[in-house]
Subunit: 310 residues, 2 copies
């Protein structure tokens, strides 16, 4: 079979090395606090990975357990605690809209996951800096950012093109339109020039910057097209359906497609490699590397702001 | 029957008169823009009431229709348009978490509904001002505020008690724990001193400031108690279940209870008046008066800020 399987550990290796060296050279010890308020196996696994990767790279990681009802108070404490550089929450907590409320309770200067309203809003509007003087780059939500880094690694982003337009000409499906991953990911890929089909149970939407990428940021259109009609047109198919029952039929995939799965369940069928040119079965380890990358950035912003005050 | 039915129109009358006089005396014409992006009959009715009340009181109201996908862009335009003093959205739009994202897209200086993250957060934490110099009072979400004004009108708030503790000794059930109404309402009533049972399909939570109202803001505890166990203990029962199928059994109600319904469906049974001392079948007209009250406040904040800049 000519399909190449790319593991997340391989993509994340250079990021981990870079973070480790950076921390060592500068003799710093950034601190990340992770809050676990559920018994979700995927969340617990993600917490274990975070702990392991942080230990390897020199980041101080502290896992704090909380009940759902204690969580907001504990986030507020961590927001105010100067020894904490970054805060993350292993979602779901309540599972519904209250989780979005919680996401915005994390201070934007400590939001390593990039999930507070301001960061998500800026992703949608292709606003790349968080301050008006453009000294502080925005924090990008981790899992969408991990997908972008994987796409860069496997050559979907074309470095011959100008920065910001490197997906021009690409057609990508994102199967999941959650507020945490699927919608920001579709927006980011479209902002970088791709034509993106955003697919969920309610139907298909098209995210683009218009023909000839004429717009500064993407716009979204509804379409009557179905997943079955659009997936065969896609160069890249990215799935993130959080259930073991969903399987994207290999027969829909274009020959030579790039297949990436960010769900903790296998969303592609066993025979996906008979059709794909590149298959990335999971992204979690890259997500954790992105968390650390965001942590370092926020650590520096916090220090810069402290220096300015002094 | 000794039950007194109180109509929202009666409670809202004095507010409407006050707003009308204020607008006339000061010779101002505050402008409210409402966005309708659905065909929901309850939303359309609410929009009609807003238009009618605004016409009566001297507020300029403009209803703008939009598709779901156009809405965010149109909100941003209205945020930036100096001729617009207040913005509201007739929810639901997408119906899920994306609606919470939209709520925070409304500028806090124009958010007449009080649904952006900052205002909701401040309600939960009993923070009453939006600025550190305490010159601008927070905007309170309209429907919860309407319920509070109704409770004041019918004497549940005890003016003999100090401001902020006027519900001390009251036990209140709120049947609905949405992020838009039920949860902020339960928090506000508990912040004012009540013991509140917040009830939804997932169970019962208790919101209180602790025994002897020792805390500055409410805390929330889970309880194993069921709705059937707690409702008979309540002096006031407030319902807001958005379905015609839900009926709270009159047999559960304490004799002489105060029954208030903010759902657009009748959540109490036909015979509720055999048990209640006061019955408030709907709150919508008070909600619209609160929208206008919030609009006037934001209009003044906008003018004060413009004066400061000049």
């Amino acid at each position: 079979m000519s399909c190449k399987t790319i593991l997340a550990s391989k993509v994340s290796a250079s990021f981990r090395t870079q973070i480790k060296e950076d921390i060592k050279e500068r003799n710093i010890r950034p601190k990340l606090v992770g809050f676990l308020a559920n018994e979700d196996p995927a969340a617990i696994k993600y917490a274990e990975w975070t702990a392991k990767t942080c230990a390897e790279t020199g980041v101080e990681f502290e896992l704090r357990k909380a009940t759902k009802l204690e969580l907001e108070g504990k986030i507020t404490e961590a927001n105010e605690d100067k020894s904490v550089n970054g805060i993350m929450v292993y979602y779901p907590v309540f599972g519904g809209k209250q989780d979005l409320y919680l996401q915005s309770c994390v201070s934007e200067l400590k939001d390593v996951e990039g999930l507070c309203h301001k960061f998500v809003h800026n992703v949608y509007h292709n606003i790349r800096f968080m301050d008006s003087t453009e000294t502080m780059k925005c924090i990008i939500p981790c899992t969408p950012l991990a997908c972008v880094k994987i796409l860069e690694y496997i050559g979907v982003y074309n470095p011959v093109m100008p920065y910001g337009n490197r997906l021009y000409g690409r057609t990508i499906a994102v199967v999941n339109r959650s507020e945490i991953v699927g919608r920001p990911l579709a927006a980011m890929l479209a902002n970088d020039g791709a034509k993106v089909y955003s697919i969920d149970v309610t139907g298909v939407q098209i995210f683009t910057r218009g023909s000839g990428i004429k717009l500064a940021a993407h716009q979204v259109e509804d379409t009557e097209l179905t997943a079955e009609q659009v997936i065969p047109q896609c160069d890249v198919v990215i799935t993130g359906v959080p259930t073991p029952n969903y399987k994207l039929s290999t027969s829909l995939l274009k020959d030579g497609v790039i297949a990436i799965n960010f769900s903790s369940f296998k969303n592609f069928e066993e025979d996906v490699k008979t059709r794909a040119s590149i298959y990335v079965p999971s992204v979690g380890k890259v997500t954790v590397a992105m968390l650390e990358r965001n942590l370092l950035r926020l650590h520096d912003y916090q220090n810069d702001l402290t220096e300015k005050k002094e």
